[in-house]
């Protein structure tokens, strides 16, 4: 049989990988890290965490998640649950810094576009948005990040933040309205 005729290998779900890890398969953890670390890092960065501590926060969030797998309700998305843990860590870090937020400069200084002018505009817009996010109340900021940055549905956001989809939707609209004022 030619290789192209073989059915594509099934991609294990997060729940499959969690089950594998709980069953003693270490690669389940590695694959979950590979799958979600970037999203987690972007989310933590969006909360205003110190960019120099993102690697450590990501590692700590996964560590706490794997230790607390028994408390993961399988009906909610693993990623949402992980991001909530990351959010709590970022909040703790913020308290340790006594409220000082850090806006990454180097994150925006690397030109990746062929049009330097467009890149500068895009970088400035991202910087303004990052700055604006730090001025939002925590729940608005997190709902906005989960919805707009992570692309999560209101229902999933509600499960992650222990609120209702309707309330999450209102927080999202509040956040967009305030960010328009702050970023403009």
């Amino acid at each position: 049989m030619p290789p192209s005729a073989l059915p594509p290998p099934a991609v294990p779900t997060d729940a499959d990988l969690v089950s594998a890890y709980r069953g003693g398969d270490e690669s389940g953890a590695s694959r979950l890290v590979a799958r979600h670390a970037a999203s987690l890092a972007r989310f933590i960065a969006g909360t205003g965490a110190d960019p120099g501590e993102i690697d450590d926060l990501v590692q700590e969030a996964f560590f706490r998640a794997f230790r607390a797998l028994d408390s993961w309700r399988g009906e909610s998305a693993f990623r949402g649950w992980l991001l909530t843990i990351g959010s709590n860590l970022a909040r703790d870090q913020y308290r340790r810094r006594k409220g000082r937020t850090v806006i990454s400069i180097d994150d925006h200084d690397v030109a990746t576009d062929h049009d330097p002018g467009a890149t500068l505009d895009a970088n400035e817009a991202e910087r303004n948005l990052a700055d604006g996010l730090t001025r939002l109340p925590r729940l608005q900021r997190e709902v906005f990040l989960l919805r707009a940055q992570q692309g999560m549905a209101y229902e999933e956001i509600a499960r992650s933040l222990d609120t209702t989809p309707g309330a999450a939707r209102v927080h999202y609209h509040h956040a967009v309205k305030r960010l328009k004022e702050l970023v403009a």
Binding site: E26, A29, V33, A34, A37, A38, A41, R42, F43, A45, G46, I54, D55, V58, Q59, F62, F63, F66, R67, S71, N88, S104, D106, D107, H108, V110, A122, A125, E126, L129, A130, P137, R138, L139, F144, L145, R147, A148, Q149, G151, Y154, L161, D162, T163, T164, P165, G166, A167, R169, V170, H171, Y172, H173, V176, K177, L179, K180, E181, V183, A184
Partner: protein, 173 residues
């Protein structure tokens, strides 16, 4: 007729390329300053933190994480063993003390607390609002930031079935 509120709801889907603007929605984005400003904000969000994510040292994170988890599992086994040993020692001590003392009436029972310690995320007052109240809050948000082209107010009567379905789903909580 385009409902601005629903368009803002849809923006993350388009920003993540899970949906596309219809010609009518595209035209609205060109005409409505409020929606255009919302789109500028939402469309940037998926890129936020990209460079930080690209610089993650994933092999190091994974290696250190697995080391920590392995140590933690080892410590957990030790703790379980220690707990059993401690319990046995406590039982022996109890018997010894019991045998060495006279029986006295029981002291009032000590209350034990087994309340769950689930992480509580602080919720805003929105949590307690019903669908109509949440909708009223949303409508209050619709006030424009500045003077806009000023199209007609969005109305549920203008929505098609699928849009109404989405509103209902969102409001039902």
């Amino acid at each position: 007729m385009i409902n601005c509120e629903l368009l803002v709801d849809k923006m993350p889907l388009v920003a993540h390329r899970e949906a596309a603007w219809t010609p009518e929605e595209s035209a609205h984005l060109s005409d409505c300053a409020e929606c255009a400003a919302s789109w500028r904000v939402v469309s940037i969000a998926p890129r936020l933190g990209d460079m930080i994510a690209q610089r993650l040292d994933l092999p190091r994170i994974t290696r250190q994480l697995q080391d920590r988890l392995a140590r933690d599992r080892g410590a957990g086994r030790w703790k379980r063993t220690g707990w059993i040993t401690g319990l046995a020692a406590a039982a022996v001590l109890t018997v010894m003390v019991w045998n060495g003392t006279r029986h006295v009436p029981d002291a009032p029972g000590t209350a034990t607390s087994a309340s769950g310690s689930a992480l509580e995320v602080p919720l805003a007052e929105l949590e307690g609002l019903d669908g109509d109240q949440l909708q009223a809050v949303l409508e209050a948000l619709d006030a424009p930031l500045g003077a806009t082209g000023g199209g007609p107010s969005p109305s549920f009567g203008d929505l098609d079935d699928s849009q109404l379905e989405r509103v209902l789903r969102s409001l039902e909580g």
